[in-house]
Symmetry: C2
Subunit: 334 residues, 2 copies
């Protein structure tokens, strides 16, 4: 067993304590949640399309009617958006402070017509449709000059969601989300110094050493990063440099769907179906585009422990070295 | 009721969604926790000093014996440190990655001799002793050239602590914690642009407008920041510029103790004694000192909701405008 070491993530430049001598807590499984909305009343179920509102984007059986049954994935406006589509930004000062209207797009991607479908049991074809829908929305939303970024967020197994029917969030924002800003500093520093993309170098090194790789599907690599903040944090990265998820080729999306299915299946089986968050990291848009960025997915299981020192300091202590996590995930096939 | 707006924190430069139309969740009170170690076996109780180990720093009744009864506050080494005091940093490369030994100091500040004392019921004199102990440790630890920063963290009411006896953590690290790094970028940007400290300007503006102030005790101001990530987030700031908590004058520490007591009492009564985290933000040390920094305390109640979109994106949605939070906290005196 290696000793406790500090490791620096080369993208965020964050030091993390990798502390294998600390106790590993078991993942307790999905939290108890109140019974969700039943299928009859579920706005995400076929037949109830009117409840969820008109479809912004859809993939459906040829010939099936818009806003009716026959769809595979469906994107609608969130009924309780965190950012609102109507209006101008109205940026203003309040003394020394800055504020603007909470303008943006907040859309719901309904990921399957089946009410009780488990996310990890979705077929590759269906995951591919989901990713294509994300891509299409990303490409469409960038036409709005108010938006600087589009992010896709999938929360699996959170007890707070009203709807158990599988869905995820697409959010276009007039600012770059802090998680992406932090990475941009790392990409920017590295490219100025090395004239290369840091994540391209990471992919090459991970392929060379091998022991943090979980799986590879064609042009997409899934691995435990060198300095993960949380146990079983996983990055899913295209091996060829690309800053813009919106421009991803069909074949790469298909590889991504395969890799994603492999990871969520392994996470489910190894960790007792934990809640997790999956976030698509891509470059900002328009004049804020950064070509040194390298898009990827980050999947973070919600840790079984309450955050202590981490909360408020950003000092993360991870008891599971990524080499161990990757080994366990490699072996976690059904 | 104001509309949903995006506000930018002038220190971290983070945009936050202030969304008063979203539901406020009630604070559920302290989580259920397993019974802690009883007083007889508690290493933080008088008479059991040997269990906690030798005192690194102490304030005690004149004439009382070292490592025996008679102390008011006591600092000892953590038995399960996240960073270890022995050894060299041994910074090294692993291919393109950076790592070093997890060297640092991790000390426990035992905040009272009384086993069942509630943190919010500590007297100002006792809080003053606690703050003086932090200061003394900060001054002593900076003599170790391996350390770049000293942070003080108080977690109130976390269910994971073995010990209910009031204590907090002092951590000296060979890197600057990410929460401080993020602020340093804001302080640095502002001072280059304005040739002034951003937090000095914040203090002046808050005093001028008044509606986010919770209380003032002499030279220390407590207020709800303009763009809080979480409901009832509170900053406690000396009104005169000072980058280094270690150099704080006795009179300012006393004001800080008074302000802190006022805040934790109000938080306890208004929010049903919620768990919270209190973190001392101060400048890095030695050659990494930054005189434009302005030390302060940040108190963040653990939010009643599970983090959804916030987790993994850094986009925070806060349903309670700070003007409302401050008004409620002002009125929350027993």
């Amino acid at each position: 067993m290696e000793n406790t070491r500090l490791r620096r993530d080369p993208v965020s430049l964050r030091w993390v304590v990798i502390s294998p001598s600390r106790a590993e807590l078991p993942f307790p499984g999905l939290p108890v949640r109140p019974p969700g909305v039943p299928a009859e009343a579920c706005p995400f179920c076929p037949g109830n399309e009117a409840k969820a509102g008109p479809e912004i984007h859809v993939e459906r059986e040829p010939g099936s009617p818009a806003n009716g049954r026959g769809w595979w994935v469906r994107v609608v406006a969130d009924k309780y958006p965190i950012l609102h589509i109507e209006g101008g930004l109205e940026k203003s000062a309040e003394g020394m402070y800055d504020s603007m209207n909470a303008i943006g797009a907040h859309e719901i991607l309904v990921e399957t017509p089946e009410h009780d479908q488990h996310w990890a049991a979705l077929e590759v074809l269906q995951l591919d449709r989901i990713l294509r829908a994300c891509q299409q929305r990303s490409v469409d939303l960038r036409n709005d000059p108010r938006f600087r970024h589009v992010i896709w967020v999938k929360n699996h197994g959170l007890p707070t969601s009203l709807f158990q029917h599988q869905h995820s969030h697409i959010v276009a924002s007039p600012f770059v989300p802090p998680a992406i800003e932090e990475e941009l500093r790392g990409f920017g520093t590295y490219v100025r110094w090395k004239e290369r993309c840091v994540l391209c170098d990471v992919v090459k090194q991970e392929c060379a050493v091998g022991h943090r790789i979980i799986l590879q599907e064609g042009t997409v690599l899934a691995f435990s990063p060198f300095a993960p903040r949380f146990p079983y944090e996983t990055w899913i990265v295209p091996t060829d440099h690309a800053h813009d998820f919106g421009a991803t080729r069909t074949a790469v999306l298909r590889d991504l769907a395969r890799a994603l299915q492999g990871i969520v299946t392994r996470i489910r089986h190894l960790l007792n179906d934990p809640p997790y968050t999956l976030v698509l990291h891509s470059s900002p848009l328009g004049e804020f585009t950064r070509e040194e960025y390298h898009w990827h997915l980050e999947l973070v299981p919600r840790p079984p422990q309450v955050l202590g020192l981490e909360w408020g300091t950003g000092i993360y202590i991870n008891p599971i070295p990524p080499e161990v996590a990757a080994e366990r995930l490699r072996q976690a096939v059904r």
